[in-house]
Every structure is written in C-alpha cells, then in structure tokens.
C-alpha cells in the first residue's frame, strides 16, 4: 500500500511524515516523531495511557487514525514543559507523589490538563469523572486526585 504524506501539528510544530493510510496516531508519535512520552498500554482504548490532546480535547492515540487528525492541534506530554520547567500539573504530580511507576502518568496528566483548561477549579467529582478512563495499577488514585487538586489550587 503506498504511503501518503501527512502534515501533523504536534506541540506547536508542523511535521511532514510519510505514513501508511492505516497508521495509528500512537505509532506515528512514538516511532516517526520519537515522542515516546505517550505510552502504549492496553492498546485497545481501555486504559487511557495514550491520552493526548486534539484541539484541546482528550483523545486516545491508540484508537485514532493519524490521517484523521491532519490539520488539528495535537499535544503530547512533551509539549507541557516550558524552557525546561515543568507545568503546574507536572510539578504537582511530582510534589504530591501522583506518580509511582510512571507508566499511566502522561495519560493522567493530559486528561487532567484537558479538564483544567475547561474547568480551572474542578471539584473532586469533576476530577474523578475526567480521569475515569485512565487506569493506574500503583497508586490507588488518591494521590493522583490530590495532585490534580493541588495544581488547580495553585492557579490564579
């Protein structure tokens, strides 16, 4: 099958990639662009580890055909830090021990980032709902919810 030229806007940068029509966004991000922060967990849309933002909304990169998000603004965990400084959410996950093994963390943070952009000061129910599609096998979730709440409280 011939490859096609895809133009993807990832973390504010335009990338031209020769990809198959059936390429998945998670594979393009990790293998073609080297953005391995986005994790491949269940690889079937059940665990949320591959959550990225598309036009600010959370999306599962393992279920997203790369060709279907051409021209949209894609953001991954690598796009959050500014000049080497962690974002408020990353800092909060670091300080509040929201991360243990770290595998679910990029997906958790991107899902939480989508929430805080839409709802800057969420209550606990809103945080739980926003993270309902993200599985963690280490923390029991309490520290993750605390981290998101801390990041929200640190906001003006």
């Amino acid at each position: 099958m011939p490859k096609r030229l895809l133009t993807l806007a990832v973390n504010g940068r335009r990338h031209e990639i020769a990809a198959d029509g059936h390429a998945l966004l998670v594979d393009v991000l990790r293998d073609a662009l080297g953005l391995t922060g986005t994790k491949q967990g269940c690889d079937g849309g059940e665990c949320g580890a591959c959550t990225v933002l598309v036009d600010g909304a959370p999306r599962l990169a393992c279920l997203t055909l790369a060709a279907s998000v051409e021209g949209r603004a894609i953001e991954t965990i690598e796009g959050l830090a500014r000049s080497g400084r962690m974002s408020a959410l990353q800092q909060a996950f670091h300080e509040r021990l929201g991360t243990q093994c770290g595998f679910c963390t990029p997906g958790m943070i991107m899902a939480a980032e989508a929430l805080l952009r839409r709802t800057p000061h969420p209550d606990e129910a809103e945080i739980r709902e926003a993270l309902a599609g993200n599985l963690c096998r280490c923390t029991g979730y309490v520290k993750i919810i605390e981290s998101v709440r801390a990041a929200a409280e640190a906001r003006p």
Binding site: H22, D43, G45, P58, L60, L63, A67, A132, G133
Partner: protein, 324 residues
Amino acid sequence: MGALPEFAFARPATLAEACALLAVEGARAVAGGTDLVPNLRRGIERPAQLVDLGGIAALDRIEERDGALALGAGVTLARLADDARIARVLPALAEAARSVAGPAHRSAATLGGNLCQDTRCVFYNQSEWWRRANGWCLKRDGDTCHVAPQGRRCHAAYSGDLAPVLLAAGAEAETATAAGTRRVPLADLYREDGAAHLTLAPGEIVARVFVPAPTPGRRSGYRKARARGAVDFPLAGVAVVLVVRDGAIAELGVGLTGTNSRPFRLAGTEGFVGQPVDDALLASLAKLIQKQVSPMRSTVTQSYYRRQVASVLAQRLVRELAAG
C-alpha cells in the same frame, strides 16, 4: 491488540463525496473510530477502504426549533453531553451521552457511530487467535452461536446508550446513500439479530436524527447498570420519557438497551395512560419489561441479573421522574 490491517483511507469533505466512496464494495465508514478500530485490530473486519466522515461539516450540527431537535450524525458525544439545548429539551440524551465510556472516548465518538455500533458478546470481542481456538462463532466466520448452540441466530447484545433515549422520545433517522436520502422511524434501523442488527443497506449511513418537540412538562432520564461506575457498556440500560398531569400519566415512553440484539421501545406503555404512578403501576411495568427483554449469556454477568435489573432501573427512574 494486533496491528491494523492495511486499508486505503479517504477523508471526504461532503456527504455526497462520502456516499460515492461508500458505494464501492469493500468501503466502510468510520467516524470516531472508538468502536471500529478495536474490532479492526482484532481482525474482525477487513475493509479495503475506510471513509472518514469526520471532515463533513454538514454532519456536525445541532439545530433546535421550538423544542424539535435535528442532530447531525457527526456530533460527538462530548458535545451532546454539554449542549444547553439538549439539556433543556431532552436531558436524558445528555445523561446517556455522558455515561458512555470515558472522556477521551466521548470527544471522538459520534452520535451516528453510537447508534450504529456493533453488537457485543464475550465470544466475539476477542482476539483472532482466541476466536479461532474456539472455532469462531456465528456472528463472524463460524457456524455456531456459543451463547445458544441450539439456536439459529446470533445473540450478541446491542449496547449503545443513546438509542433507547431516542426511541423513547420517538426519534426518526435520516439515512443517506449515493442514490439519495430517506427518513425512517429510528426503530426501523434495527432488527433482532446480533449478526445483522442494522437494516442499513451496504454503503448507507445515518446522516441525521430528528427528535420531535416534547409535550409540555415532559421529563426524561437514563439509567444503566454496569460493573464499574465508568467506562463499561450497559448490562442493561433504560430510558424513560414521562408526562404526568393532574396526578396521572399522560405520556410514557420506555427504551431499552443491553438486553437484546437491538435497542427497542417497550410495547404496551400506552396502557398506563390515565393511571397514577404507584406500586401497582410499577409492578405492571416491571412485568411488561420482563416479558419483552431477552438477555442471553453474552456477558460474564448472568442473564437473570440483567433481566431483573432492567425492570428495577425502569421502576426507580419512573418513580423518580414522577416525583419531579
């Protein structure tokens, strides 16, 4: 999961272009991909071409006139859940949309995709090697339904959450092919056969859904039973639209999902018009539901539980809506 099979990919900008592409044999429509992509990765379907409907602006509209809704099939579940007009006119639809999967699924998944989602079964939603080791099944590649080996049809369950609400509210669907569009009652989109639950012709897609304006004072709600509070498909799902006037039922519509191979509107609810919502009425309602649902062992949860919980959810919801 396995790798995706190879297919060509097209992203048309108009409905006419999409219909022309879908008229070719081996073409398959995809919108959010949350239902189709896992099935492709399990080797369940092998389309020659995927036609992505996500670039068609005309399918992405929500319109409301005097309470009547026209909903584009490409509207995402996240938008349905958040739209103020839907919250006002048919809150059950927003509730049902909010109850589907997780937030990252809802920002991709669409109304049309949810209505047309594939039926599900423990013997079907499995990897290729799993299904091969089990001799395949009647729904795909095999000749025996492992749920009911003596039967002649597939008993996979329909698990969409939006259809029961729209059926209870008397919605219609506009479908499109290269030859033109047609408008049918939403119920006509489905049949009681897990292997062929949609009546759409090859290449035909759902383009819009029309919901008639409500009777003044109508209340609506949606409840589903599932193992976890999020993400899971319904073991049984119940939608109710209800109008109570002067202490008696003036209108009652009940839609069900998760229990059969199609979503359906409960038959016989007009018999309750004029009666008060009391224990006797709720007992009759439960009996009516028990007669019409037919859950089979297509999930790891017992079918007996799904039958019971369908009527319990309906009783609670009717009582709650009647109380205001």
